[in-house]
Symmetry: C2
Subunit: 150 residues, 2 copies
DNA sequence: GTCCGAATATAGCCTATGCTACACATCCTG
DNA sequence: CAGGATGTGTAGCATAGGCTATATTCGGAC
């Protein structure tokens, strides 16, 4: 048995278990993404208009309303939201807490991007995807960096 | 008909179509993520070991080998890879091009994160998720920022 | 050359996330 | 207060991306 030779490594690669970990974490972040986005959006709608209608949520997410209904059902299942039939959607305490965390993260990511020279519009758009993959450590570094250049 | 009043806006919200666009783009990026990651990993394996075995791909992605087989089938379907049964996996020209783009993006993201103070380990981990959401505009800004502080 | 273990592939199942089409409620208008 | 527009919910379908369990094939040891 060739005893797993480390390969002719003409080119560095990360250690295998560390790499698998990274991908697993990225996958997990991806699956949390949707609920986070919905929670944030619903919180924004509640704050700005007083109510969150499924049709508004759907329009703003850019999906069919049936899709929004299903995702809201999942939010309810996970204890993040409540809704009575034909009334709007509301967030539980947990839902609000999640939305607050996500929003803070989003703002910081946008600020950081802008600080390094990304146009505001692009920063907003990219932040929508990036925010879900920013670890606490990275977030802290962002805050420190922004602080330092004020 | 109340003519869609802009809502008591106690709190700013993005324009609705722009926001939907952002979410759509984020969703699209998310669905491209997997293929990009696989292409990059396979390219790395080919470069460092000379061959990419499905078992290695699976181990490094942190998934069951059956999952890797399925995703590789999708790569083939999309014209990014080729594979003969029981031989390794190879990338087409398109696959290599994709891998190169992804790799360049990955490196730049890591560099940027490190430059603003993120520990290398965390930068590597977060970049795995972030890289798929960085637009060309943002990428260019990153490059400019790094250039400027050299 | 045969046989066994490792690698590979297939099959079948599950959940998440989209969609369209259809059914039912609500509410505003006249 | 009747009726239609609009909002809401349900049903059924598709694909992506996980998994486990079960073949198959390959390749090296003997």
């Amino acid at each position: 048995m060739p005893e797993k030779q480390p390969a002719p490594s003409s080119h560095d690669m990360p250690q295998e278990p560390a790499q698998a970990d990274r991908f697993c974490r990225a996958r997990q972040a991806r699956s949390a993404t949707l609920l986070e986005d919905y929670a944030e959006l619903i919180a924004d709608l509640l704050a700005s208009g007083g109510e969150a209608r499924t049709v508004d949520v759907a329009r703003r997410m850019g999906v069919a309303h049936a899709t929004a209904v299903k995702t809201i059902a999942r939010l309810k299942r996970e204890g993040l939201a409540t809704a009575l039939p034909y009334r709007g959607v509301f967030l539980t305490a947990a839902g609000h807490a999640l939305a607050d965390r996500v929003r803070a993260r989003h703002r910081l990511v946008v600020e950081l991007l802008v600080a390094v020279g990304v146009p505001v519009e692009d920063a907003e758009a990219d932040a929508e995807g990036i925010e879900h993959h920013v670890s606490d450590s990275t977030l802290a570094a962002f805050a420190g960096f922004l602080q330092g250049r004020k």
